[in-house]
């Protein structure tokens, strides 16, 4: 908690959100609806953003290859839906199966990234990109028996979008809802998000968590003191991958649709952008960074939709979102250079 200063992206996003908020109030949007949606969007995307933390803290960069973990989560859900598991059985068996697959995939992902220290981000991006077509081939041939998941014609290959409503759609969203007037607070969903956050925070206080930050700070020093850096990096990367699988299950149950094929293609950039907005550095990210950043990022996107519709240009919301996403990531990379120079001088 040393760095409490508000960084420029946070400031810009806060001002941007304020402007959007004023405009939405001016065009007579219902504020209660907006708050309800904002809370759901926050928790829906929050776990995915939290999944970046272990990898950043172990010094393996921001996980641009998140598609690996996301695909594992999707596979877990394919498994659960294929067995027609509903409600909580479906949700938890998805998470269980997804994290098992994610652990295996994460291990191999870590093998690749451990060879390519300092280049994790660019390699991760393309590992993620190239993993998606592999998964697509898998989705085309996977022997699934649940007819609702298959293409209606031909009966081979999964549909790109599978409706989850009759399985476990919104199961977490509807848990322990508190209704105050028009406000609906999805307490269960929020508790799940915060619970994951608290676990991650607690993890950072354990011995392993301490070693993580030591590696991020000075890898060579840790290596000399006899600790296997690659082992801890593998743990961090596997953790990130498993959490990404968790995240996509939470995301999909809230979305109500299982989005396969190119669904995870562009999910890593918004997540990275969110954690940067929250103030995470290249080698240090806290749970508060992730949660605050996700809230700012998702709420501004949410607010920009009615504004864009009011201006009769609905495409604008998506364009503005992408401008924010890539602009923030660009800022992070260009700003980072100062830290790097600092390190070189210390050596």
């Amino acid at each position: 908690m040393k760095n409490k200063k508000i960084n420029p992206p946070q400031l810009i996003m806060a001002v941007y959100m304020l402007v959007l908020l004023i405009v939405t109030v001016m065009i007579d949007m219902n504020l209660a609806d907006i708050i309800n949606d904002a809370l759901i969007k926050w928790a829906m995307n929050g776990v995915i953003v939290l999944s970046l933390i272990p990898m950043i803290n172990v010094g393996a960069g921001r996980n641009f290859g998140m598609a690996v973990g996301l695909s594992a989560g999707l596979l877990g859900m394919v498994f659960a839906v294929n067995l027609r598991f509903t409600s909580w059985t479906g949700f938890f068996s998805s998470i269980a199966a997804g994290s098992l697959i994610a652990a295996v995939l994460g291990f191999f992902y870590a093998k690749i990234l451990n060879q390519l220290k300092m280049n994790e981000e660019i390699v991760g991006t393309f590992v993620g990109y190239s993993f998606i077509p592999i998964m697509n081939i898998f989705y085309t041939f996977v022997p699934v028996t649940n007819r609702q998941m298959l293409y209606p014609i031909g009966g081979q290959g999964l549909r790109p979008k599978v409706n989850l409503d009759i399985y476990f759609g919104q199961v977490l969203d509807n848990l322990w809802q508190i209704k105050i007037g028009k406000l609906v607070i999805p307490l269960g969903l929020l508790l799940f998000l915060w619970g994951t956050g608290i676990l991650l925070w607690a993890f950072s206080k354990t011995r392993t968590g301490m070693v993580f930050s030591a590696i991020a700070e000075n890898e060579r020093f840790v290596q000399i003191s006899g600790i296997s850096v690659n082992k801890y990096r593998t743990i961090g990367i596997v953790m990130s991958t498993v959490l990404a699988a968790f995240g996509v299950v939470v995301y999909s149950q809230s979305y109500g649709i299982l989005h396969l094929y190119d669904g995870p293609f562009m999910m890593s950039f918004p997540a990275v952008s969110a954690i940067v907005i929250g103030g995470a550095g290249k080698k240090k990210a806290t749970v508060v960074n992730a949660l605050a950043g996700t809230f700012l990022y998702q709420t501004t996107y949410l607010l920009s939709i009615p504004v864009a519709n009011a201006l009769l240009i609905p495409e604008m919301a998506e364009i503005l979102r992408t401008i924010v996403t890539s602009g923030i990531i660009l800022y992070a990379f260009i700003f980072e250079r100062k830290d790097k120079r600092h390190e070189v001088r210390e050596k």
């Binding site: 641009f64 690749i112 060879q115 390519l116 300092m118 280049n119 981000e121 660019i122 390699v123 991006t125 393309f126 590992v127 990109y129 190239s130 998606i132 077509p133 592999i134 697509n136 081939i137 085309t140 041939f141 081979q156 290959g157 950039f269 009769l312 240009i313 495409e315 604008m316 364009i319 503005l320 992408t322 401008i323 996403t325 890539s326 602009g327 990531i329 660009l330 990379f333 260009i334 980072e336 250079r337 790097k340």
Partner: protein, 354 residues
């Protein structure tokens, strides 16, 4: 044997292409016609990647910016109702100007993000692509009022997503046409590619090429020698952007219509995959890598969906396979490059210890 070892990637892709061609059951004439079209549309993009690779910046995914400037120039020409050779000259001039300007900005950002150029260039490409979309979707009709209102959507805001670029394609069709398999193709793009290849050939041997090589092989040595490395890197990026702009003009001229919002997307990945398939690495690229790579990659690109259809009764398998190939080859290139660097370092260490 050494030849095989040094050219393992192109040879593997060549074998894959032969297999895919065999199972696709296409005629060789059809394939060569398709490859010809894709060759002229993508060749200059791939050539544009050479100089940034030489000066050690990796693959410049920001060539999208060059494509964007060409698209802007074409829309402007349509807006001004220009036709014939005048339109082509206008497009070439304006896009060259814009791409020099944008290239300079890209270089400015890339020089600040040393060590992360590749991923930063991806982000620059994405950002500039959405800003460009924003301008033509929102600003046109509200802030900018075009002379030619036909290019606008019916609601009066935003440019149509497909515009007829006949003014340029007419010029293209008239120069050196030839008939093949009943369709008319032209040799004009090949002529342009030839000219630009010669320019690049000259640049590689001129002062800038030598300096780029010095900067690329060892940045700190180059700096101590008094080479202004940032300036060299900027010039390389600007040249690369201009090449990309010219390539996009060829693409639009050959295609005959312009996809205002999507015409520039994906070109960077194809170019990167092509140059790496041709045997280049992220530290070293030659012109022959480009020519071999473009032909091989696009031949595989055309044959693989049909091969997938015939082998698995499913055309999408081939499509997935080719996109896996396009991204996967980039991962493999980076891994191989870093291994090579590591081995080199160990060798130097061993020699100094002796």
């Amino acid at each position: 044997m050494k030849f095989v070892k040094n050219n393992i990637v192109p040879i593997a892709i060549f074998l894959l292409t032969v297999i895919a061609f065999y199972y696709s059951e296409m005629s060789l004439n059809y394939l060569s016609a398709e490859v010809y079209t894709r060759f002229i549309r993508n060749m200059l993009f791939t050539l544009a990647l050479i100089l940034p690779v030489t000066c050690g910046m990796g693959i410049n995914f920001a060539i999208i910016v060059g494509a964007i400037s060409a698209q802007m120039a074409v829309v402007f020409a349509l807006d001004l109702n220009l036709t014939g050779i005048l339109a082509l000259l206008f497009v070439v001039g304006v896009s060259a100007m814009l791409s020099v300007m944008f290239g300079f900005l890209v270089a400015l950002l890339l020089n600040k993000a040393r060590g992360n150029e590749m991923i930063v260039s991806i982000m620059i490409g994405q950002l500039s692509s959405v800003i460009y979309q924003f301008i033509f979707m929102v600003a046109y009709g509200t802030v900018i009022h075009p002379l030619n209102t036909d290019i606008l959507l019916e609601r009066g805001i935003g440019v149509r997503s497909m515009l007829d670029a006949k003014n340029i394609s007419e010029v293209f069709e008239k120069i050196l046409p030839f008939k093949f398999e009943g369709k008319t193709y032209t040799l004009f793009p090949v002529l342009i590619i030839l000219v630009f290849s010669l320019i690049l050939f000259y640049l590689q041997r001129a002062k800038i090429g030598v300096l780029a090589k010095a900067v690329g092989s060892n940045l700190s040595h180059a700096n101590t020698l008094g080479i202004k490395s940032n300036r060299v890197r900027s010039i390389c990026i600007i040249i690369s952007t201009v090449f990309a702009a010219m390539s996009q003009i060829i693409l639009i001229g050959d295609f005959g219509t312009i996809n205002v919002y999507t015409g520039h997307l994906g070109l960077d990945t194809f170019a990167a995959a092509a140059i790496l398939v041709g045997g280049a690495s992220i530290k070293e690229a030659r012109m022959r890598n480009c020519f071999v790579g473009v032909i091989l990659f696009h031949a595989l690109f055309i044959t693989s969906p049909m091969a997938g259809q015939n082998l698995f009764n499913n055309p999408s398998v081939g499509e997935y396979f080719r996109s896996f190939l396009a991204y996967g080859v980039i991962v493999i290139a980076i891994i191989m490059n870093l291994r090579k660097e590591k081995m080199e370092k160990e060798r130097i260490l061993r020699e100094t210890l002796k």
